[in-house]
Every structure is written in structure tokens, then in C-alpha cells.
Amino acid sequence: MSKFKLSRYLITVEVDENLNDLFSKLIIFSTRTGRSLIVTKGAYELLANKHFDPIPTKVLIRLIGAEILVPNNQDELQTIRDRINKIDEIGLLVNKDLSTSNTLKKNVISTISGLLKTTKLKRINILLNLNKSGYIKSSFFIEELNKIGKCSIDILFDPLQSNPSDLDLIDLIETKQVFIEVKKYDKSSIASYNKFINEIFKKNNSLHVGFYLKTDCFIDVEKKAKKLFSTLLESNNLDTSKLSVRFVSHNQCESQHIAKNEITYMGIVNEYNIEQSIVANQQNFKVIGGKKHNYFDKANFINYDSLSDNYDLRTNFNKTNSQCLNCDFLPLCGGISWKEQMNEFTCPKIRINIKSRLRLRYEYGSD
């Protein structure tokens, strides 16, 4: 039985903070796989001391599957490093105003095609912020990307600025999802979102709508979230299985306050039975209506600004500093590669609010 040990990349959280006996429940979350299991505190102590005999075989098998238990002789850091080095797909946010200069547009295209030619990347999942470039420029951009191939494209619309006719862009891409950005919560803005969502379903009833929520400036979060979803759901009679939520943040806003607000928002989203990824990768990049979340599928969602034509995941990972190398979150966030790309030097929010996220998931049985 000594062939296994508890992984070093674990987050544990008590389901009920007030209970503190061997039978109280503990959530064990592996940042290697993004999977979690619930065991009793007593069982966890047995695992930690490598006393596996009293634990049922089926439970141990599940712990192995979630990589909560790992081979005794495994160098975990090296294993993570080896796996990250083999990632051949990235997500890319194109947040540029392509309408200002033809050179810029050409640069974006040539950088993407260059990446596919010169690196081991096999696929780039692009999220195009329409409002930065407008319909005409975007359609040209999409056509050029389609010529390159190996790119999947999703579009982020801002209903406060877009026309329903902009939705025709969807015809140029193979997608099952449309993202809409939610920035304001006043009555007229919510009415605009409402109208735009109606137009989306009128165009194609099988599409999913992903809410792209900026969490930087949440004030009065509970009231805002409730207002948004109750209005949208009541007036449209929407099927909530067609909706999902993705939390994003920009700039240097990773604070305790934002992380706490995000949890409040997530709780409300759960109350409305809308799909969201409670435990997600660094960018909360969620595939709507798709498979279970897999970090390695959608890792390294980066901003075009910091993308260069010699981009290489291996180089970035190897640059990871010692602080990150000792961090339990390394398998989830990838260390400095993420920070540098985003030009941020703080840890992702999930590191701050993971315990609350896990409790939420336990409470709602979701994810």
C-alpha cells in the first residue's frame, strides 16, 4: 500500500466550519485535475498517514482517478511540467480595435498564422471582441482566419453597442455559442440585453448564450445580479440550460473584495439554475453546452497584447519563479506564463476564493 501518497497539489476545505470531529466532511480538491471528492476528516487523516487498508477500494480508485492519490515515487512538479509542455491548444482573446489600421489587422493575422506554423500549437481558440473592431472589419478578419484554418472563433457582442444585424457574423463561424458582455445594470441596459438575446434565439434557437461578466467593479452585487437574471428570465421565458456565465476580470483588480463579490454573484447564478464553472481554470473559460471542464483543453487563455511570434509555452513555464513552483495552484494557473501574458503580477482570483467556490459547488451539487 505504500506505493501511493496524497498529492502535494491539494486544497482541502471543511463543508461545515463549525463541526470539527473525525466524521465531519472534508472536500479535497486536486489542482492537477480540477476534480474533487468528499471524505470524512478521519479518512483524510488515514490517507495522510498512508493507512489505506480501512478505506474501501472503490474510494481509493476514485481518489487515484482524481489524482488526489498519486504514485509514491512520482516527481509531481516534473509531471506537471511535462504535461504543460505538451499542450498544443491555446485560447486567445482578440481585444483590439482592428478598424483603426490595416497594418494592425494584418499583424494580428500574420501573428496567428505564424504561431501555427512555427510552434507546436495545433489549434487556437479565438474570442473576438466585436465592439473593438466593428462588423465589416470583423467579417474580413474572420474570413482571413477561416483561410488559415486550425482556429475556432467565438464572438463577444456588446448589446449596448451592437445591432441585431451584427449577429450575421455568426454565419461565418462554426459555433454553438454566443457571448454577450454585461457591463451595466440599469433598466435600459437590461432591456437591451433582453432584446439582443431574443434576436440571438430568433436567429438560431439551438445557440447557447454565455454572459461575460466583468467582476472588477462590483458594487451592490447581489441586487444587480438578481435584477439582471430575474428580468431576463421572466420576460423571455428562457430555458436556463441555454445560458451560462463566465466571470472575467481585467487589470489589477484581484482583491479580496472582488473575490468575495464574485462568490456572491456565483451564488445567485446558482439560484437561477444557470450553468457556471465553479472550479475553473485561470480565466474561467467555459465551454458552453460542452464537456466537463478540462484545464488542459482551454489552458493559457491569453491576451493578444502579450502574444509574440516566438510564443512558446515551454519557455514560459520554465521561467516560472520559485514562489510559483512552490504554490499548490501551479497546475491550475501555469505560473508566470499566465501572469506575464496578462501583464499582471497578482494571483488569479480563484486562488483567493477557491474554498468558497468549493463550498458553493457542494451546496448546489453543480459544476
Partner: protein, 344 residues
Amino acid sequence: MSTVVINSDFTTGIENFLNTFNSDSSKKAETVEETNSFDDLLYGSMITRLKKESILNFYQAFDILQKGLLCARNNHLLLSNQYYSEADRWKEEIRDQEVNLLVESFEYPAKSYLYYKLMDYSTAESMLKKAIEIDDCLEDKGYDIMHFHKIQQLHNISRISYAKKEVREWENIMLQLLKYLTLGESPVNYGNWNVERINKCPSESRSGMLFQVFSEVLVFNLYLVSNNKQDINYSIRNVCSGIELKPKTRDEKAIREWLDLNSLLKDEKEFFLRNALIFLSSQPNKFNLFKAYLLIDILKILKGLNRELFSKIETVVSVIIKNRTQINSDILGRIIKNSCYSQT
């Protein structure tokens, strides 16, 4: 050709079906709880034969192989190979020969899939044959359920034949598989076959495999049609002829009904329409592909159908086929059009 009378019950019935059609074949409500899954049965065999530590050693390897397989399915071939290297390292730790055999039984098919993705079909095929040999050994040791694992490998070999564009060989293996599963006639190639092994396992195992093989015939057949290789009913006729199925499960009953419906197509069109409607309305979403074929047959029979209903049926057929294949819209439109105007 005799005139087919469309009564209003049929029109109302088909409209109801089309209006309530749901393309999602993964709806939870319709999922039958699998109490006798392959994994459960394998675990059941292991627990009676192996020590706890050996079982854990197996699952450590099995889990990494499964992760590698999943990566290969999603075209992350480098990462897939990385997982297989991890599995190789772990295998060196395993001293128990039986556990090693069990691991290899899953290792060869997993690695074979990676070679398949890399289009090295000959290595992929030889690995599957190796897996079949190992399954033979494991069956002899008492792992009856591995018989289905072996059938799965023969199925995988058929996929390689298809990828190599050896369509008749693919058809031949599919026919052998179906005849083995329904009539007990042993396949001629690779491995030891004994239908008693099938009978020792729960009916759900056979049923699941039959469903899988049938569904794949329907999918690959569409690809052949889309490449102008053959008429839509060609493979179906070839593969399904001579199949005698005595259903034991709900899924097998549905497959049987579907086969019976196909035999009605030639001379008993009105009876076909009535019963096809019952199949469409009563079978769960997992049979959507079977339904698409019936809908194409309905279109074929009812050429004088009103335009609106015709296009509604066309849309549902397209949605189903698009969900299961990578056939693009233009080709799909051509398939439906050509199929509707070909000889019934």
C-alpha cells in the same frame, strides 16, 4: 409504383413529432441506469481474484491510459503520448503478471488509437491484434467480461479498414460482428470466439455492443454516401441482411423494430408509415440516427408532401446528422435530396 395514401392522423402525428423533436441525445431523463456496466463487471472479476494493492496498481495505470485516450480523441496527440509515457513508467512498478496482462489489454488499444490518429494504420492494427490475444488469456483466467473488450477490438479493426478505405472489409467485419452478437456465428479472423462467453455476461453487455455497432454502420454509411460511394441503403442492406435478433433488452427491441420497418419498405409502405411514426414518437433520443434514416425513407415515399412539412423533416434530419457526423451542410442537403429521389 403504387400510390400511398397519407391520412390526416399521419400528418398530425409527424407534425407533433417534428415540433417536439429534441436533438440532445444526452438528456439525463432518458439515460438508463447502467448497473451492469463493463467497468462494474471488470471490477467484480478483479475483486474476487486480486489483492487490494494489485487492484489499485491496475487502476493507476488504467486511469492514466484513459486520460491519454481522451487527449487523443480531442486531437491533443503530444499530451496523449505524454500520458502513455507515464503509464509505461508506472508499469515498471507492477510485479503481478495478471495485473500486467490487464494493463496491457487496455494499453494496446489506447496506443493503437494514437497510431490511428497519426494514420499509421498498420501499427494500430497490429496493436489491436495483440490486445485480442491478451483478452483471450484473460478470458481463460476467468475474466468473462473481457470477451466484450475483445469484440470491441474487432470493431476497432473495422474502423481501421474503413480509414484505409477498405470499405468491403469494413462491411465484412461489421457483418461478422453483428452475426456473432445475434446468431452466435463466430468471426473468421483473430482470436478465439465462443458464444457461451457472451451468454455468461449480462444481456446489457450484448445490447450495448449491438447498439454501438449498428449506430456506427449508420454513421459510416452516411460518410460513404457523402463521398458518392454508394446509395444510402447499400451498406444497410448488406450489413443487416440475415440478421436474426431475439431481443432481450429495451434497446434490442428498438433495433429489432427498426430492422422490421426496413423490411416493410418495399411492399407495405402504408404499414411502414404507420409503424415508423410509432418508432419516431416512442423511442428515446439515443435512437435519433435510426430515426433520421426512417425520416429519409418517409421523404422518399411522400414526394407529394406539402412543402412546409417536407422542409421541416429535412431540417430535423440535418440536425440529427450534423450532431453525429462532420458532414457539411451543402453535402448533407445533396444527400437528402438524392436519397429522396433514388429508387425505393
